[in-house]
């Protein structure tokens, strides 16, 4: 298994107290797989991704748990060895292409740097050739001419292609894309996603793609992990999570997206309420206050994972008491109510 995250906890010490940004996350990404991490803003997606790369300075962050890549524990690796993994074994694409590139360095040189830092013996000419090849691969026209250009001479979409070139030039085993399309317009978004999917097949790399919009990853991800308040609340094959959301939060998230068969005049639902305060995480389920199907137990006890489906050996699991064997009536009521949101529920 290329990447395995176990019981990952990350908290930040701040003046206002300690923020638990990630609270016991488990993730697996297998060879050539694409895992999508979905969740609203502030739920700990970026912190998780950057902890995998060891980009979060600690202190001030406090990190517990385990992150292994091909069996090697990354969290315990000396910085020198970790450096050899960053960029070479794990490539990362960041959210904002406008700020991801150094404004004072030619983009060709910036990409070349990612290559030569891991392969010191490489001759500059050979490295430049490889950069031009990769620039072409990520869909930048006339790559020879673009080598000497600077970031400000490119549009957002083109810059993101440059950033992607930087992340994949060493053919990493794992590519982490943290909201790679959030800052782009819709057409460009689709192109960039196509590109990532393309590269995934070409380079046979595993991909973790982070987004807050499930639609973005619908036909790209093999599996989806839904994040809420620093935890994974639901996980399963992409189609299972889409067609049969088993955590009320996932259901709410799906309902808050517009779709093509939406009726005119029908209101777009939004998830009512706000996520819990991570300075003082709740004793029970973090979604309790906003949940239409909340039960008494949800307030008091942290839910456990329950498997709701299993197709082709891939488990579909949900961190929700509804799926406890003794929650059958509540589950049935929630399902028959159309897995509704809190506001609608009170009307029936």
């Amino acid at each position: 298994m290329p990447l395995a995250v176990r019981d990952l906890e990350v908290s930040f010490r701040t003046y206002g107290g300690s923020v638990s940004a990630v609270r016991g996350v488990n993730l697996d990404v297998s060879e050539g797989e694409c895992l999508a991490i979905v969740g609203e803003s502030g739920c700990g997606k970026s912190v998780t991704a950057q902890t995998v790369m060891r980009l979060i300075p600690s202190p001030p962050a406090e990190i517990r748990g385990s992150v292994t890549m091909d069996g090697v524990e990354l969290l315990a690796l000396p910085e020198k060895r970790m450096k050899e993994i960053r960029g070479a074994k794990i490539g990362m694409i960041f959210q904002d292409p406008m700020t991801s590139l150094d404004p004072t360095m030619q983009i060709g040189k910036q990409i070349m740097e990612a290559l030569t830092v891991h392969d010191r013996g490489l001759k500059p000419l050979a490295a430049a050739d490889r950069v031009i090849e990769v620039l072409g691969m990520v869909g930048i026209p006339n790559p020879e001419k673009q080598f000497r250009r600077y970031a400000y001479e490119f549009s957002g979409g083109m810059r993101q292609r440059v950033v992607i070139a930087m992340a994949v030039i060493c053919s990493p085993r794992l590519l982490i894309a943290d909201e790679p399309t959030t800052a782009l317009d819709v057409t460009t978004q689709a192109q960039i996603l196509d590109l990532i999917r393309d590269l995934k097949t070409k380079l046979r790399t595993s991909v973790v793609i982070i987004t807050h919009d499930m639609g973005v990853v619908a036909n790209m991800a093999d599996r989806i992990a839904v994040f809420y308040a620093g935890q994974v609340v639901e996980e399963g094959r992409s189609e299972d999570v889409f067609l049969n959301p088993s955590h009320p939060y996932t259901a709410a998230l799906l309902m808050s997206r517009p779709s093509l068969d939406w009726d005119r005049g029908q209101k777009l639902a939004s998830v009512p309420g706000t996520p819990p305060d991570l300075f003082a995480p709740p004793a029970g389920c973090g979604f309790f206050d906003r949940c239409a199907a909340a039960m008494e137990v949800c307030r008091e006890a942290l839910p456990e994972f329950f498997e709701t489906e299993n197709h082709e050996g891939v488990s579909h699991r949900s961190l929700c008491w509804l799926h406890h064997p003794s929650g059958k009536t509540e589950l049935a009521r929630w399902l028959s109510g159309g897995r509704g949101l809190k506001g609608e529920d009170s009307q029936c």
Binding site: M53, L55, K83, E84, I85, R86, G87, A88, G91, M92, F94, D96, T99, S100, L101, D102, P103, T104, M105, E113, A114, V117, H118, Y150, Y152, E153, V163, M166, A167
Partner: protein, 309 residues
């Protein structure tokens, strides 16, 4: 880039023309008159005014001055009888320039280094140490620093000569005294700028590429953080230049400062005018060089709209 340099050049030229004009009329607007000594009879005074051409209308004098200026003639000092202003500059400027350039280089090197060290050790002992140096440096006026260094290192410790300019050992104290303020200023700017750059996304990206901390600082952070420092190099050069007047007089350096002060005291029109125009032109050129330097470091500056399209 060529167009950028050409544009900067013309702007500099215009500035110098404006400078000459404004300074010419301003100097004449200073209340008082040259040759106001009791020893001079009115006839002699008349003769002298005529000799220097002061009896003619101001605009005629101005045109004549500009005409001479174009040939490199800055006129004749009225105070140091018959000495050409250009000659005075030629004799004394090398000392001022040597002092100023030493101080500027020292300030840039030490200031930038202190700023970087400070930022990399943020919140630790070295950082506080640099901050204290910077605060002291910015708050002490040049003449205080000058006398202080002289007192401690020349009079008490006898490590360096008290004054004069006769070899490297003589240059140490005046150079330090003159550069202290600028060093502190640059250190502060560099520190703030480094801290800002450290938080930028492209630094995180560089780290994600597998670069070491040293490589990140050397290849990405310093290069970006230095931009604000380059921007203020123009004004800083001006500050150092004016600082030379004071430091030169404390350490008895035979530079231009003395002539400037005497020129103003004696209302020696041609001397004040000549030195001011010389200084001004020098500063404009320094700014021109800084602009070009900036264009080299920051690619966004050197392109104009047409190239970009």
């Amino acid at each position: 880039m060529a167009r950028y340099i050409l544009k900067r050049f013309f702007i500099s030229l215009l500035t110098i023309i404006a400078l000459v004009t404004v300074v010419f009329f301003l100097v004449r607007a200073i209340p008082g008159e040259p040759f106001l000594s009791d020893k001079l009879t009115p006839e002699i005074r008349e003769n002298m005014l005529r000799y220097y051409g002061f009896d003619q209308p101001l605009y005629v004098q101005y045109l004549k001055y500009v005409k001479n200026l174009l040939r490199g003639d800055l006129g004749v000092s009225m105070h140091y009888n018959g000495l050409a202003v250009a000659g005075i500059i030629g004799d004394s400027f090398p000392y001022s320039a040597s002092l100023g350039i030493r101080a500027l280089l020292l300030a840039c090197l030490v200031g930038i280094a202190l700023g970087v060290v400070s930022a990399l050790n943020r919140g630790r002992f070295l950082d506080y140490f640099c901050i204290i140096i910077a605060i002291v440096g910015v708050s002490l006026p040049d003449f205080v620093t000058g006398y202080l260094l002289q007192y401690v290192f020349a009079i008490k410790l006898k490590l360096f000569p008290i004054a004069l300019w006769r070899g490297f050992r003589y240059t140490v104290l005046p150079t330090f005294a003159l550069s202290f303020y600028t060093t502190a200023l640059l250190a502060r700017i560099m520190r703030a700028s480094m801290l800002e750059v450290t938080g930028q996304d492209y630094v995180k990206v560089a780290r994600a590429k597998g670069l070491s901390e040293f490589q990140i600082v050397a290849r990405h952070e310093i290069r970006n953080a230095i931009l604000p420092v380059i921007t203020i190099l123009g004004p800083v050069t001006a500050a150092i230049l004016t600082g030379t007047f004071i430091i030169e007089s404390i350490y008895a350096v035979p530079g231009m400062g003395k002539f400037y002060v005497s020129g103003i005291q004696n209302l020696d029109y041609s001397q004040v005018l000549g030195l001011t125009i010389f200084y001004g032109t020098f500063l404009v050129m320094a700014n021109f060089v800084v602009d070009i330097l900036y264009g080299f470091v920051d690619p966004r500056i050197r392109v104009d709209r047409r190239d970009r399209a």
